[in-house]
């Protein structure tokens, strides 16, 4: 009875984690096409959801170990129990929801690893952690992913603008990059579905094996594949609009050429890394690409305050999800009552975050400010009524997430500074003209 309960809870939690993974990572593929108007917001998330669904069925090469080697599992190591997985999933879900609430793109894989590490430390001590793998699979990629993607996106953006630049003042046709954006973002969504749904399939399969409900060495059951595919697709379709706002408009203003360069860099980096055995986080790669493309376009600026917040979020992903998982594991050690308490607390937290998020709602209509989309030359038509809704008396936009608020503040300050500089220049020019006029009048007399 106890075993059945915990297995059932792990399956439900794993599927919910898959769902959070989906809405957390929609932004990786679709933030920039939405920001440039290449795709309507709802069309973008529908496309991403379909590709995630398809991607989940394309590969079932699930991981042989739940922690990817971070925890010394198996012979002579730690026996990862369903309770540990349960606690780890709670840690990962809580962190995913917190970062989503604050609009911070963070790695769901790292949250899951952090959760499992926290639960494993409570169950077996610090020696359960494989330091070498931690360094090579978490710490080095955390620095390498945004750096690599950033440099690649910077170079690609420079190349795109250099090639399409026109010196004769004619139209450069850069709006056509929007069509390519659809292809590149679709590629990222497909890759995401293929990679990330497998994690949950692996978690469920290994739990079933641990509970003697499945033979060791066999692949995931079809119902596991289908459930994971549907969960990640539903999560993706629900949007994760707060993170879309941060990646699409919070870091830099994205133009079509920039967006295409960023997405191509993300796709190239993810595909190259996964095929050369140096797996990088999709979220960190996508964030790095957007920053790199922002630096690559002349006249564009990167909001470093938002970048700093995201970096802090990445630094805290492992310890925070680990700490929550450790607490959950401690409670779970009490026995079946502890597991029920964990489940109630977890469910309560999910409901709390959901209700809290409704106070400051971000959805498809206000994820990216319409004027920003219009400014980058949008291809999609957005109804005028929605444009009106977004405008307030001060000319800004309605309540935003904290990251987006700081981005809008920076943007407004930059625009005010630009206006002041332009006015000063105008005044100076008027004075110079007046002096010149005076001189010429004097000469004529």
């Amino acid at each position: 009875m106890e075993l059945t309960l915990i297995v059932l809870l792990v399956i439900v939690l794993a599927l919910f984690f898959d769902f959070t993974n989906g809405f957390h990572d929609t932004a990786n593929a679709m933030a920039t096409p939405i920001a440039t108007g290449a795709l309507k917001p709802k069309t973008a998330v529908l496309l991403a959801a379909i590709l995630n669904l398809v991607g989940a069925f394309l590969s079932t090469e699930v991981a042989k170990t739940i922690s990817g080697g971070l925890i010394n599992e198996g012979d002579g190591g730690v026996l990862i129990t369903p309770e540990m997985i349960f606690a780890g999933l709670i840690g990962a879900i809580v962190w995913n929801l917190v970062t989503w609430f604050y609009g911070l793109p963070s790695s769901s894989s790292h949250a899951l690893f952090g959760g499992l590490i926290g639960a494993a430390i409570v169950g077996a001590g610090i020696q359960a952690i494989n330091g070498g793998v931690f360094l090579s699979k978490v710490l080095i990629p955390m620095v390498a992913a945004p750096l690599t993607a950033g440099i690649v996106a910077f170079t690609a953006t420079r190349v795109a603008y250099a090639i399409t630049r026109r010196h004769d003042g004619r139209k450069d046709g850069r709006g056509r990059f929007r069509y390519a954006q659809i292809a590149s973002s679709s590629l990222i969504a497909l890759a995401h579905g293929t990679n990330d749904a497998q994690k949950t399939m692996g978690v469920i399969t290994l739990t079933l094996v641990a509970a003697n409900l499945q033979d060791p060495g066999t692949g995931p059951h079809f119902w596991v594949i289908a459930a994971c595919a549907i969960a990640i697709a539903l999560g993706t379709y629900s949007g994760g609009w707060r993170i879309i706002r941060t990646l699409g408009a919070g870091l830099t203003q994205v133009k079509p050429a920039q967006g295409f360069a960023a997405e191509t860099s993300t796709a190239a980096t993810i595909l190259a890394s996964s095929h050369l055995g140096f797996a990088l986080s999709t979220t960190q790669v996508a964030s790095g690409s957007v920053i790199g493309s922002g630096l690559g376009r002349r006249g564009s600026s990167v909001r470093w305050r938002a970048v700093g917040r995201i970096a802090i979020g990445w630094l805290f992903t492992l310890p925070a999800s680990g700490a929550v998982a450790a607490i959950a594991a401690l409670i779970a050690h009490i026995g079946p009552i502890g597991i029920v308490i964990d489940a109630i607390l977890g469910f309560g937290f999910i409901v709390f975050i959901f209700l809290r998020s409704r106070r400051n709602r971000v959805d498809s209509s206000n994820a990216i400010p319409v004027p920003d989309v219009a400014e980058s030359g949008y291809a999609v038509r957005i109804r005028k009524s929605k444009v009106k809704k977004l405008r307030t008396k001060t000319g800004t936009v309605p309540p935003l997430t904290s990251v987006a608020q700081s981005a809008v503040r920076d943007d407004l300050a930059a625009r005010a500074a630009e206006r002041a500089a332009a006015e000063a220049e105008k005044a100076e020019r008027a004075i110079r003209d007046a002096e010149r006029q005076k001189k010429s009048d004097g000469g004529a007399q």
Binding site: A144, D172, A261
Partner: protein, 94 residues
């Protein structure tokens, strides 16, 4: 070392695709060639849409530019196909 290889491969692939597509866009933005008027001066915006000329297509852009642009777009689309090939394990038959 793995990191350096990933970096080099990503840089090459991304810049290659972006450069190809950008070239395509640049070719599409090629203006119509100036046309000499009867009085010897040049018409700056090229022939009008009604003019029939083998070297330019319907919108006044030289035909070679349209062909070159399409080649660039097809090549960059084929790189996307390579990406799909890399994503789908069932297609890893080499």
């Amino acid at each position: 070392m793995a990191f350096v290889i990933v970096f080099a491969a990503s840089l090459f692939a991304a810049v290659f695709v972006v450069a190809l597509y950008s070239l395509g866009i640049r070719f599409l933005a090629t203006p119509a060639p100036p046309v000499r008027r009867e009085d010897g001066t040049f018409e700056p915006n090229g022939p009008s849409r009604d003019d029939e000329d083998d070297d330019v297509d319907a919108v006044g852009r030289p035909r070679w530019a349209t062909v070159a642009a399409n080649i660039c777009f097809i090549l960059s689309a084929s790189v996307v196909l390579v990406g799909i090939l890399l994503i789908v394990p069932a297609l890893h038959f080499w």
